[in-house]
């Protein structure tokens, strides 16, 4: 057991926390935060696991560096989409499909039609 392996296990725990939040929380911005936590966990697993035997390893570090920049770009794009969604629908959570389609199917169709 080396410190690197400790960080790898912490990354696994972070993945779990992030996954739980991603499933349970309905607010979209918090879902995005949970998704980012999951991503950080994956990065920790990648680097920690690769380094626990042979010391510092630049290859996974470079991959993680690429991953961080892609993650911030994806987060920014997600924020743009969430704000657009909020702007158009006034909601901060996705609609519940089970509640929405069954009783309201008829009126919903009528309401959607003129907007298109």
């Amino acid at each position: 057991m080396t410190p690197s392996l400790l960080y790898a296990f912490a990354g696994a725990a972070l993945c779990g926390i992030g996954l739980f939040g991603f499933i349970v929380i309905s607010h979209l911005l918090r879902k995005l935060l949970a998704f980012n936590l999951m991503g950080s966990g994956v990065f920790l697993v990648l680097v920690g696991l690769a380094q626990h035997r042979s010391g510092p390893d630049p290859v996974p570090q470079a991959l993680v560096l690429t991953g961080i920049v892609v993650a911030i770009a994806a987060t920014a794009l997600a924020v743009v989409l969430i704000r657009r969604y909020f702007h158009l629908s006034g909601k901060t959570a996705l609609e519940d499909p089970a509640r929405d389609t069954l009783p309201h199917q008829g009126p919903r169709e009528v309401r959607e039609a003129p907007r298109e």
Binding site: L6, R30, I68, G90
Partner: protein
Amino acid sequence: MAEWLLDVLLVIALLVTAGSVLWSRDLFRAVVFFIAFGLLMALAWVRLHAPDVALAEAAIGAGLTGVLLLDAARHLSNGKSGGDDNKEEPS
């Protein structure tokens, strides 16, 4: 021994901050916890001998993500009253 203590404390702090991001009461607080989480991640990268990643994480996790998410959080909670009105109208 002291290094082990540092690592264990850092890991515990990471997990606690991650939990606080998800279960704090208001959105603003969650975003602030997320910024703190980014800074702790930068420390973890330093502990993992990855200074390049630590630099990137500090610049991105604390600077850019913070501004982006704080702006979004303010916007989403500001418009909440107006948004609820919109939700009431069709039904």
